[in-house]
Amino acid sequence: MAQALKKLTVQVLKNNNVENIIGSTAVRTNSTWWNNVQMGPPDVILGITEAFKRDTDPKKVNLGVGAYRDDEGKPFVLPSVRKAEEILHSRYLNHEYAPIGGEAAYTDAVAKLAFGADSPVLKEKSNCTVQTISGTGALRLGFEFISKHYAKNKEIWLPSPTWGNHPQICNTLDISHNKYRYYDPKTHGFDLQGAIEDIRKIPEGSIILLHACAHNPTGVDPRPNEWQQLSQVIKEKKLFPFFDMAYQGFATGNVDNDAFAVRLFVKEGHQVTLTQSFAKNMGLYGERAGALTFLCGDEESAAKVLSQVKIMVRTMYSNPPLFGSRIVQEILTNPELEKQWLVDVKQMADRIISMRTQLRAGIEGAGNKRSWQHVTDQIGMFCFTGLKPEEVDRLSKEFHIYLTKDGRISVAGISSKNVNYVAESIHKVTS
C-alpha cells in the first residue's frame, strides 16, 4: 500500500500546474480544483492493523490495537452498558437537539466522577464542564479555547513521549508545543529528576499537559509522592496544568485511585483543565462520549468561559451526539448500574494486570537476561517493552506479532491463549 501511495503522490505533484486549474471554457472534465492537494502521511497504527489483517499465519497476534479485548480476543460490551441501553430503549426518548454544551445531568455526573462528589469546586460551581466528542474532541476544544482566550504563554508542554495526536492537534491549531522529560528508557520508568529539571525551565504561565493515569504510550505513571512533587514545582513555576484522563477506572480498577492526581492538584489549589473519555472505561469507543472541564475559580468566570466554549462548539458541530452520553449518564446516576459498572471496569483492569503478570513470568521463566519488572510496574492498556526497532521487526516478520516500532504493546491484545507464545517470542528476539 505504501508503494501505491508513493506513486500517487508523485502523480499528484507532477500534475501541479496552473493551467490544469484554470482549465477550458466549457465543461471542467479535464481540469480539477484538487491538483494541489498533497497526499497526507499514512497512519502508523492503521498500517499495523492492515499488515496484521493480511497475515495468514494462525499464530498471529495484534498488539497494536488500542481497544480492550476479552480473553477470547473479542471486543467486550460491558454488562452495565447493555443494561443501560435496555433501560434507555424502553423509555422511547426522542432525538431532539441537545444543548450546545450537552445535557446538565450528564455534565454534572461526569464532573462528579472526575473530581469526587464532595469536591469544593463542584459545590461552588466554578467548573465549566461541557460534553465533547470523546477525548479527542475535548482536547481539540480545550486547546482551541486556549489559543483564542488564554492570556498567558500559549505554549503547551507535552510529556516525552505522548499520544501521537497531542502534538498533531497543536499543529492543526498553530499552537507551539514542546517536551519535558517523562519516560526513562534506562529504567523503563518515570524520570522524576528529568521531569522536574525540565519543568523548572518552562516559561511561567505555559500550559503543561499531564496524563492523569495509565500514560499512553508508556504505561508509566508517577507514584503519589511523585505527583506531590510535580504539583509543587508546577505551582512554583505558575504553570497551567492540563490533564488528559482517558482511562479513569481502567488503570487500577478503581475510579477514585485513578483520579488521584487530578484531585490532588485541585486540592493543592491548581485551576486544572481536564479532558475525559468514556471510550475505554465504558467501552463506548464509537459513540464518542467525552467531556471537557475548565476550573475557573468562580461561578461568574465559569459562565463566561461556557459562553465562549459554546460559540466554538456551534461552529464545529453545533451540539453533541446523545446516544453515548445518555448511556454514560444512565450508568452514573443509577446506583445499581453504577455498582455494576465499577465491577465491569475492575474486571477489565484485572484482566490486563493478570496478563502483565503472566507475560513477565513467561519471559523471565524462559531465562531471559534482561529485566522485565517494568511489564508489571507499568499500568493500563499499554506497555513500553523497551524492544528495539530491529527486535520489533523480527517479531512481526518471524513471529507474526504486530506492535508499533517504539516497542509499545497493547496488553489488551494478550490473552491466556497467546501469552505463552508472545512471551517465548519476545524472549527469542531479545536473546
Binding site: N165, Q271, K304, R314
Partner: protein
Amino acid sequence: MGSRFQVVQQGPPIEVFQLNRLFTEDSHKNKVNFSVGAYRDENGKPWVLPVVRKMEKQLAADDTLLHEYLPVLGLEQFTNASVAMLLGKDNPAIAAGRTFGVQVLSGTGGLRVGAELLNKHLKHTTFYYSSPTWENHHLVFINSGFTTPRTYRYWNAKTRAIDFDGLIEDLRNAPENAVILLHACAHNPTGIDPTQEQWEKIADVMQERKLFPFFDSAYQGFASGDLDRDAWAVRYFVKRGFELVCAQSYAKNFGLYSERVGNLAVVMSDASLAAAVKSQLTWIVRGMYSNPPAHGARVVANVLSNPQLFDQWREHIKLMSSRVIQMREALRAELIKLGTPGSWDHIVKQIGLFSYTGLTPRQVEYLVQEYHIYLLKSGRINICGLNPGNIQYVAKAFHDAVTKFPGDDDTRAKL
C-alpha cells in the same frame, strides 16, 4: 488565586437558543414556538419517525452489535448510501469513482470539515453566502480559516422574492476561486428557492467566473416531499461538469437531530485524486474528533439500504412535508379571512420548514411580548410551530401586529 479566566469576555447569546429558552420558561397557555428549526407534529410535539423507532428496536435487540470505533471517514455503507441518495444511484459520477462521502457531525460538521479542506488544502480564502442565510454559516467558514466573507443578494423584502438580478450581478463580480455557499433546497431562513431556470443561470455565471459551489443540503425530501426533486440543483451542477462539495444533514429528514448524522459529499473531475483528498480529510477529522459517532449513521444506513424501509421512510417525509404545506395554506387562508393588510402569497410560495414572513422587528417584538409568540427578529418562523389548534390565534396576532405597527413604505406589502 484569582481566576486566569477573568479576562474572558462574555460571549453574545445565540438568538435562536435564547428565544427557545424564553419559550420554555414561559407559562402562558397560548404560547407558540416559532424559533428552533425542528419538526413538530400537529400536537406541537417532536416526532420520532416510526421507521427510526423500528430500526432502533432492531439494533437494541441485536446482541452482536458492538461499540467499536468507526473508520475515521465514517461508516462506508452510510456514506455510499448518502452519496447515492444525493446524486441518484445511477449517476455516472458514482460509477466513474469520482465522488465519495465522508461521515460528519450532521450539517454543521459537514460545513466545517468541507470548509477546512477548502481553506487548508485548496487554499480558498473568499466565501460568499446569501443575504440572508443561516446564521451559523459565517462563523463556520471564518473559524475554518477563510479570511474574506462576502454576501450575494438574495431576499428582496419589497417583493418577498429573490432579487435575482442582484444575485447574478454579485456573483459576476466575485473574484475567481471564491467559494459560493448555495442552499440545495428549502432556503433557510427565507424558504424561497431559485427556479430551475434560475439555477441554470447561476451555473452559467459560476462557470464563467470559475466559482466553486459548496452546497448545504439540510432538507432533502423535506422540502417538496420528493428526494429527487429536492436534489435537482445539486445534480444539475454535477451534470454541468462542476466539481463541488455538499454538506448533507439527516437531522430533519430523519428526525435524528441529536445523533449528529451527516455526510460530506465530494465530487471531483478526476477520480485518481480521491486518495490524496481522503488522506487530508482523515487528518482534518483526526485533529477534531478522531472518528464520528456510530449510532445515528447505523440507523440511516440500514434504512437507506433496505428497499422496504426506504419506502417507509419516503412516506414519513411526505407526511412531514405535507403537514408543513397544509399549515402554510391554512395560515394564508386565515389571514385573508381576517382581511389582514398586505399580500401573504409568499407564505405558500415558500418551501420547507421556514417562512420569512416579512414581519418587521417592531411587529415581532409585539408578538413576543403581547401574544407569547416566539419568532426571530428577522421575521422567520418555523411553520411547524403551527397546528390546527393555534392557527386562528396566530393569524389574529399577526393581524393585530401588522395593523398596530404598520411597516414603513419599503417593507409594507402591496394591498
